[in-house]
Amino acid sequence: MENTVVKIENLVKRYGELIALDHFSLEIKEGEIFGLLGPNGSGKTTTINCLLSLLSYDKGNIELFGKKMTPVSYDIKKDIGVIMQNVAVLNELTVYENIDYFCGLYISDKALRKKYVEEAVEFAGLGDFVKFYPKKLSGGLLRRLNIACGIAHKPKLIILDEPTVAVDPQSRNRILEGIEELNRAGATVIYTSHYMEEVEQLCTRIAIMDKGRKIAEGTKEELKRMIRNTETVTIEIIELPEEVRAQIASLPHVYSAEHDGERLVICCSGGKHNLIRILDVLQSRDLGFGRVYTELPTLNDVFLEITGKALRDKED
């Protein structure tokens, strides 16, 4: 009974030599908050731009609301709200005028538009700033304006491309809560980000992208189940004889034990006595150690497991 809102099949997009999207496929059902997670340059924005027919693509098929999407599919476009990665507002217009301008591209009825614009102002918490010009807004407020401009016309499908980049934590939380609210009101959401915490917190289903390919897809539980280790134990220890490390690595449930001179990082599958067994080994050798902590897997571990590199880039 769930309707498919977005269907991407075998999308291939080249920028000259570079293959930005490599046979990328995706299906999103009505009512989902779908997360597109991937490091910078993995092709998230390119996917969105192709989805919206802003870019031509080399191969593939895109359907929205069950209809083929083309640059002239105005009946489809009117049901979509877009929040671009690059803030697109007019600096010469006030906050209110900006929301009114973008809303007016969809809604021509003046009275209805006024109501919608006021609701969007309320939604984004911009009430105190309606007469401000964008240049005067902080990064977080500017992002919220960008969002208000994208959702004012009450679209059925909302696409947000990295809406929280360079945003203070307070604005970020407000944005994430707002998106959940829109979703509860019935909108299907596509959310791209390279922040795994956000995607984990917000999204009902997630696709992980790398180098233009989809490398995993599912709910966050499904994704985490895909990887072998469910627990990472980290022990701060300076001196560690090689045979002790090997002994720990050969313990039951332990996949790997790596020592970098400061820390011993042990990956193991779920089991009740992992930590006790490991600490027993260290104590029997009379080796002193510092802090000990264990972590449950994150999407970063999923990404690491599949691609062999960390999801986060250096600038974060």
């Binding site: 802003l54 031509s56 693509y57 080399d58 895109i62 640059p71 009946d75 217009l93 007016g104």
Partner: protein
């Protein structure tokens, strides 16, 4: 008309400098027009000259006939008092006494003490005649020095100075149908048009056409053609309003419409089209505000200097003028100089000027289309090009 409304709002925000240009220009032009008599002194008018030929030779008669070309020679009694009265009561403007022995002295290569002249008022024309006389004698001497006989020298000098005077005199005396002040008004107008149209419209179009905004707008249900049309409409209305203002002021300054005025207006309209086309062309590149301002300055100031707006074309070097031919403002100024009476009016040349300006506009439009097509080839945000290849 959502885009159109936004366009006007952006335009309003960006029009401060245009307002200043217009206000300063009109603030100078209108007061000048009300005191435009001051410029009368610059006009060369025909003088009433009384000549006493005490020499009575062919040479002296030749000098008189040269003066007679552009002035009225009046005969008076050869009496010192009569002459002074005539000058005093302004029956004559200028009195010239050609002393006995004029021909002999001149033939001997002398240039001083050949004649005496009297006048009461220093008008431009009086100065001109005085200069003409001294130029005459020195030219005769120069021809003789270069080996001509006295009579050859006289006739060659007469030829040289009379052709020269003919052109000069025509240019100043025919005066065109434009009042001087209107001529100057239209002469500086292209500078103002470039500053106002390019300086205002370019930032607005660049803003409205920026890649991010175009992408964002393309996501909405507004048609790409409609978007472009609304931008075009907004630009056209702006240019029209600016032109209408300047034309009305021009007609008022001129005290009505005549043939020359119509040509001046046509000249400004076609030139505005060129500037608008230039604006659209420049706006096709996503350039920052500093570069936009720089381009406006170069186009307005640079063209104005090269093309004879600030410095008359007659004072510019041949090299500069040769280069300026490739700029539309040159042709605007050539036509305006004819209308001002600085150069002789020639209907064919006037038509040529308008045609060349129009050609510049067409060329810029073609160039714009070519550049847009070129850039939309590589993943640019042009909608029509975004058709999926597989479709």
């Amino acid at each position: 008309m959502q885009v159109f409304n936004a366009f006007l709002k952006v335009l309003k925000k960006r029009s401060l400098s245009a307002m200043i240009y217009i206000a300063v220009f009109l603030g100078i032009a209108i007061p000048m027009a009300s005191s435009s008599n001051a410029t009368e002194a610059m006009k060369l008018t025909s003088l009433d000259i009384c000549v006493f030929d005490e020499d009575g030779t062919d040479a002296s008669r030749e000098l008189i006939s040269l003066l007679a070309e552009n002035n009225k020679i009046v005969t008076l009694e050869n009496d010192r008092d009569v002459m002074t009265d005539a000058l005093y009561y302004e029956w004559i403007d200028y009195a010239l006494i050609i002393d006995k022995g004029y021909a002999e002295k001149l033939a001997a290569g002398e240039t001083n003490d050949l004649f005496r002249s009297y006048h009461m008022h220093d008008s431009y024309s009086v100065v001109y005649v005085t200069n003409l006389l001294s130029e005459y004698t020195s030219t005769v001497k120069a021809f003789m020095t270069s080996g001509n006989s006295f009579s050859d020298a006289l006739s060659k000098t007469a030829d040289a100075l009379s052709t020269d005077t003919e052109v000069t005199m025509k240019s100043f005396s025919s005066g065109g149908g434009l009042k001087d002040i209107v001529g100057f008004y239209y002469r500086y107008l292209p500078y103002i048009l470039v500053s106002v149209i390019l300086g205002t419209l370019c930032p607005v179009i660049v803003t409205m056409n920026s890649r991010d905004l175009r992408f964002r707008t393309s996501c909405s249900s507004i048609r790409s053609a409609s978007y472009t049309m609304q931008l075009f409409l907004g630009s056209a209305i702006f240019v029209f309003a600016v032109l209408a203002l300047f034309t009305v002021v021009g007609i008022v300054l001129n005290g009505g419409i005549n043939g020359d005025m119509l040509l001046a207006v046509a000249n400004s309209i076609i030139f505005s089209l060129v500037v608008t086309a230039l604006t659209v062309f420049v706006s096709g590149f996503e350039i920052g505000p500093n570069i936009q301002a720089l381009i406006t300055q170069i186009a307005s100031l640079g063209m104005s200097f090269l093309c004879g707006v600030f410095v008359p074309q007659s004072m510019l070097g041949g090299g500069v003028l040769a280069a300026a031919r490739f700029l539309p403002m040159y042709w605007y100024t050539v036509l305006n100089d004819m209308l001002m009476g600085d150069t002789r009016f020639d209907a064919g040349k006037a038509a040529l000027c308008l045609a060349v300006e129009a050609a510049f506009a067409v060329m810029l439009v073609v160039l714009t289309v070519l550049v847009r097509r070129q850039s939309s080839g590589k993943n640019a945000p042009r909608q029509k090009k975004a058709e999926p290849a597989a479709a």
